[in-house]
């Protein structure tokens, strides 16, 4: 795998969240909530934005800007979509992960602190 296409854990989460939400629905709030509810760990909006910025630098995501919502106080949003390269990288990471975990049974940790 060429240097620069490596994905860090949180980058993977963000891209997976974008993929799950689908085009048109993925933006800061939804991505943050998606990761928080699914992983159960608190996620800072700043971390999401910083990661999106980094993914954008790598060319894995693209941004578009929505029209303001047609309600009172509605606002425009910065929407996120996976690029072709992004999809490839995500596919690669996820399938590598799947191959690594295939047939593996992780024993529960014993004696650890609760």
């Amino acid at each position: 795998m060429p240097k620069g296409s490596h994905l860090a854990e949180f980058e993977v989460y963000v891209m997976l969240a974008v993929a799950r939400l689908g085009d048109g629905d993925a933006y800061g709030v939804t991505i943050r909530q998606e990761i928080e509810t699914r992983t159960g760990r608190p996620v800072a909006i700043g971390a999401v934005y910083a990661t999106l910025g980094r993914l954008h630098d790598k060319g894995f995501v693209s941004f578009s800007y929505s029209d303001p919502d047609p309600v009172q106080g509605g606002r425009a949003r910065k929407l996120v979509a996976l690029s072709r390269a992004g999809r490839r990288a995500l596919e690669h990471t996820v399938s590598s992960l799947a191959r690594m975990t295939d047939g593996l049974v992780l024993r529960p940790l014993t004696g650890g602190k609760r």
């Binding site: 490596h6 700043g46 934005y49 910083a50």
Partner: protein, 886 residues
């Protein structure tokens, strides 16, 4: 209605995020906040704060990562270490390339660390660390306090002590002890040792551990029991080479042979502090010549107690006070000063006398540390501004911001750690100097050591300081606009805010220096005042030393008199010796013997006038050149067969016989016939130079029983130190088993008496000079930076015809403005400090005009000097060069 999110975290986030990203991020956050706030506003606000803080780090990191304009977006981690080495090399090279600021920072840091490292263990040991005994809070010191004056009498009477022991419930042990002079006879000759008599429970109170043997048993306190001793670990090693077969063996003391029954573990906490060599059982004599030991009025025993484990120390202290009040009522004292019981934890009792001085030391060091910190921050800020160009160039050439950041940090660390290392090396000599300068001995000083813990702590401080002092540069680098800086020609201009910060720091430094200068000025003035107090006697050319004749070989008055007469004759035979006389206590040394005389025309039961008893040989007062005011001197003929006579000092004569002629009057002391006053002498400062003179009675030795311990005073030609060897030889020839104590000149004694004032003045004075020097560096730095930044403006002014002298004056005035501002801010601190120092001051007010005047002059002079260099440079600006922009 949409709730408004908390403003502060919002502003923080707006600054932290990328400019074109900020509004989207905030919009998203607001959206979630609004829906949360609809159900629980307080939770929503907490959530918002939390989000903001958790977002700061990733956002800021992202901004730094974004900076490199043309580098690959990621950097492989393994290069970290290599990068670090490069940066370390860069940092050292840079530090060496700019030796002046490097030296300034390293030295400043070293002085700060060194001063703290030297003073903090002393403060820690004495004020904070418990004394090393089991349950230290349960060990109490018991003493008496003079009612009214609050003067502490460190001892209690034997009978009182026995009554307390019987009547209290809250104490598990209560023991007297009293230090005494002793002589150990070794093969090499006599050695003066401190032999302490102790009560039965003494080691139980302290919980002392024994290396060998045991503490005394009860039957060893019975009269007629065989003589036994417990020796200290230090003496065991020093005199007996740690011989483990010493238990049960006899050792020779001048007072007789004693058997060693125990050795206290070396390093164990013992009393009296740090000076006990051996302990022997206390035998109180209730009859015979030493019957005074059993009298209720004689307070001669120090006492310590241990509180029972199931009793609160406070309750035990209250009980003891109540019991003592009962004892005092039951056995009213016949005379003397009225005292009440004093009882407090031994820890406080030990630290008490030095507490104010230690707090003073600590405060002074903290102020210096503040000056040090502002100074380093200032120097680093100046460096940051000077190097903007360099950093900008490197940023443009592709150095990542992470990399620049690391380099700044490493540079900062190299400087502070180098400073800390030098500081730790400085700590030991500084501590030694401090202790040498310290008058007398600090309690527990032997326990003080500069261990690796302190070095480690100093290193930790250096790391924290390194990070702290890197922050101003981080801010600079983050804010700088690399492209513009490079275009502008490698030197940046500082914003108004940065300028204000630097000036502010210099003003703080000057203010702190003013506080230090005024404080030390007041103490220097005090020292001068105390030094110029007339002592009442002539200390020049007098050598003194103590002797005590052991009673086994000098059993009576005749033998003792013979010894001292022979010694006097032999010493007088030495060339250059003018006279040899003796007393029981020299002026300005210990004050062992207090007595009381009834006031004239007083009601029965009113307190006596306290007097000090001084025993003298017939020529002693003449030898000290004390003036005779009336009557005659004590004569050789005033011997044991003649009627008892005394001389009084003027202060006492005026109190006992106001407006009358005291000569020929009889005072009630020393037997039924009293003593006749034959002469009046001038006042001597016997106790201390700062206290009013005491009431003194001088009586001839020979009329006051057997006095084996004496202090001899020799008036000699030239330097008294030249005679020490002769004195030792003469004493050795006369009695080889007689140890000499405390040989020193009277001049030395007088200088020791002003030592506390000298110590405080010297200590604070040197710190004040240090603070002022640092402040001067600060002034210089700020002024030269201001000048170099305004070169263009100054050039224009020169071109427009303004004279260089005027420009120079203008710049110097700016420096003085800083000084004026600093003094104004410092005035508040001075007000506080001068009041805190009042107890150390003598015969001057807190607003002493001489001190304030001197400080004003010094401060002005130093500021003018510090800003003169930059001012001259300003005057020499060449308009053409300046306007060309370089």
């Amino acid at each position: 209605m949409t709730p408004i999110p908390p403003r502060i975290p919002r502003a923080l986030l707006a600054r932290a995020s990328e400019p074109d990203d900020g509004k989207w991020l905030l919009g998203d956050l607001d959206e979630e906040y609004a829906s949360l706030a609809a159900t629980d506003l307080r939770y929503a606000r907490r959530w918002y704060w939390h989000q903001a803080f958790a977002s700061l780090l990733p956002l800021v990191r992202r901004r730094f990562d974004r900076r490199p304009l043309s580098t690959p977006a990621t950097r492989a981690r393994p290069e970290m270490l290599n990068g670090f080495r490069t940066e370390l090399r860069h940092a050292v090279r840079f530090a060496l390339r700019t030796p002046a600021p490097t030296a300034a920072i390293v030295l400043t840091m070293a002085l700060g660390i060194g001063a703290t490292a030297a003073v903090s263990p002393v403060v820690w040991k004495l004020l904070l660390q418990p004394i090393p005994v089991r349950q230290p809070e349960r060990v109490l010191a018991v003493y008496r306090v003079v009612e009214g004056t609050g003067t502490i009498i460190p001892s209690v009477s034997y009978l009182d002590l026995q009554d307390w022991r019987r009547r209290t419930r809250g104490l598990s042990a209560l023991a007297p002890y009293t230090g005494g002079e002793g002589t150990l006879i070794t093969r090499e000759g006599p050695v003066a040792v401190n032999s302490v008599q102790i009560g039965e429970d003494f080691f139980k109170v302290l919980g002392s551990r024994f290396t060998l043997g045991r503490a005394f048993s009860a039957d060893e306190f019975v009269d007629g029991a065989p003589s036994v001793a417990v020796i200290s670990g230090a003496m065991w090693q020093r005199e007996f080479g740690g011989d483990t077969t010493i238990i049960g063996r006899p050792i020779e003391l001048a007072s007789g042979r004693v058997t060693v029954v125990g050795v206290v573990a070396p390093g164990e906490f013992t009393l009296p502090l740090g000076s006990a060599d051996l302990w022997v059982p206390l035998h109180v004599q209730t009859s015979g010549p030493n019957a005074w030991q059993g009298s209720r009025g004689t307070q001669w025993l120090e006492a310590v107690a241990r509180v029972r484990p199931d009793v609160e120390p406070a309750a035990a202290m209250a009980e003891l006070r109540a019991v003592d009040a009962g004892v005092q009522r039951e056995f009213p004292r016949s005379s003397n000063v009225i005292t009440v019981l004093g009882v407090e934890p031994l820890q406080d009792h030990i630290a008490g006398p030095v507490r104010t001085t230690l707090v003073f030391l600590a405060a002074a060091v903290v102020i210096v540390l503040l000056v040090v910190c502002t100074n380093i921050a200032n120097l680093r800020l100046a460096q940051a501004q000077a190097r903007q160009g360099e950093f900008a160039m490197r940023a443009v050439l592709g150095a990542g911001f992470g990399r620049l950041r690391r380099q700044i940090l490493v540079e900062s660390m190299v400087l502070t750690i180098a400073g800390a290392v030098v500081g730790v090396l400085l700590a030991r000599p500084l501590l030694r100097g401090l202790l040498a300068l310290y008058p007398g001995r600090l309690p527990r000083v032997d326990e003080i050591q500069l261990g690796p813990g302190l070095a480690l702590w100093s290193l930790g401080v250096a790391v924290v300081a390194g990070i702290a002092f890197a922050i101003p540069q981080f801010v600079h680098v983050v804010r700088m606009d690399a492209g513009r800086l490079v275009k502008e020609g490698e030197r940046g201009t500082s914003s108004r805010a940065q300028h204000l910060v630097r000036r502010g720091m210099v003003v703080v430094q000057l203010a702190l220096s003013v506080v230090m200068l005024v404080s030390s000025g007041l103490l220097v003035r005090t020292f001068l005042k105390v030094s110029s107090v007339p002592a009442g006697f002539d200390p020049r050319g007098v050598l003194s030393f103590g002797l005590s004749a052991p009673d086994v070989r000098y059993p009576n008055l005749q033998a003792t008199e013979q010894l001292y007469r022979d010694l006097g004759d032999r010493l007088k035979g030495l060339p250059g010796v003018r006279g040899v006389e003796a007393t029981n206590a020299l002026p300005l040394t210990s004050n062992p013997w207090r007595n009381g005389l009834p006031a004239p025309n007083a009601d029965p039961g009113s307190p006596d006038i306290p007097v000090n008893m001084r025993l003298v040989t017939s020529g002693y007062l003449q030898l000290l050149r004390v003036p005779l005011v009336r009557g005659r001197w004590i004569a050789e003929s005033d011997d044991e067969a003649a009627p008892g006579v005394v001389m009084l000092n003027e202060a006492l004569a005026a109190k006992l016989f106001p407006g009358e002629d005291p000569i020929g009057r009889v005072i009630p002391m020393g037997g039924p016939n009293g003593k006749t006053v034959v002469g009046i002498v001038g006042n001597i400062h016997h106790g201390s130079l700062t206290a009013p003179t005491d009431n003194e009675v001088y009586a001839p030795f020979r009329q006051m029983g057997v006095r084996r311990s004496r202090v001899l005073a020799m008036r000699v030609d030239g330097d008294p130190a030249r005679f020490t060897e002769d004195v030792r030889r003469v004493v050795r020839e006369l009695d080889p088993q007689l140890p000499i104590r405390a040989m020193r000149s009277l001049d030395e004694i007088v200088s020791v008496a002003v030592a506390p004032q000298r110590f405080r003045a010297a200590f604070l004075g040197s710190l004040a000079v240090l603070a002022l020097t640092l402040a001067a560096i600060g002034v210089y730095g700020v002024m030269s930076y201001a000048v170099s930044e305004r070169t263009r403006e100054l050039g224009i002014r020169v071109a427009l015809g303004e004279s260089p002298t005027r420009i120079r004056r203008h710049v110097a005035l700016e420096g003085l403005q800083l000084a004026a501002l600093g003094s104004t801010v410092g005035a508040a601190g001075v007000w506080v400090a001068a009041r805190a120092l009042r107890s150390f001051m003598f015969e001057i007010g807190t607003g002493d005009p001489w001190t304030l005047g001197a400080v004003a002059v010094v401060l002005t002079a130093v500021t003018v000097l510090a800003s003169d260099g930059p001012a001259r440079r300003a005057g020499r600006v060449d308009p053409l060069t300046a306007m060309r922009g370089r």
